[in-house]
Amino acid sequence: MIDAFTFLFTTCMLSIIVNLGISLYGVLYRPSLIKKIISLTIFSDSANITAIIIGYVRWRNPGEIAPPVLLNPSPTLEDIETFAKVAVDPLPQALVLTAIVIGLAVTLFLVFLTLQMYRFYGTTDVRRIAKLRG
């Protein structure tokens, strides 16, 4: 018998994985370049949230869980022990924070590439761009 925690957590994880699949379909098979940019952003966001879910250590301490923030500015030993027991993993959060900002820069680069492609070719449809000669 599967308990409610596992069921809801698996539902959340499966939704994110389905999101990854749908957005990968959008990147590969939709003809418009703007739709490809939108799909790529959804894909990177889904990958980021997968990393955060892996860092959410529900299996280690199922009772209480807290953000990785130390409230006491000069922590004692008991504070650090409670922090290590209760807090989620802060390493994926730091990585995802960097990845979001880098993703914004990459999206801006792709947006200006698409704009230049529209100015040169007069379309953002990759099927029509592939048929152009010369």
Binding site: L8, I38, V88, L104, T107, V111
Partner: protein
């Protein structure tokens, strides 16, 4: 009696399922402006999931970048190029 953490996890699963619907609508929509709006809805749901996953610092970065700045940039691109996907 249902525990509070179970309710939080249920709300998180609900947000994740809604974000799947929003992603499907954003990918299959022909009108690009509507697709960007569905993508913004999906980003809002992801921000709520980040908050429930105990990552408040990521919410502070993710909301201005992915709900505010990114749809504005893509809407400017759509205004300069095509509004419909053929």
């Amino acid at each position: 009696m249902v525990e509070a953490s179970l309710i939080v996890l249920g709300v998180m699963a609900l947000f994740a399922l809604s974000s799947t619907i929003a992603t499907y609508l954003a990918i299959t929509e022909r009108n690009l402006v509507k697709a960007v709006l569905y993508s913004a809805i999906q980003s809002t749901l992801y921000a709520l999931i980040y908050y429930l996953l105990m990552a408040p610092d990521i919410v502070l970065v993710y909301v201005p970048v992915s709900v505010g700045l990114y749809p504005a940039i893509v809407l400017m691109l759509i205004k300069k190029t095509e509004k419909e996907e053929s």
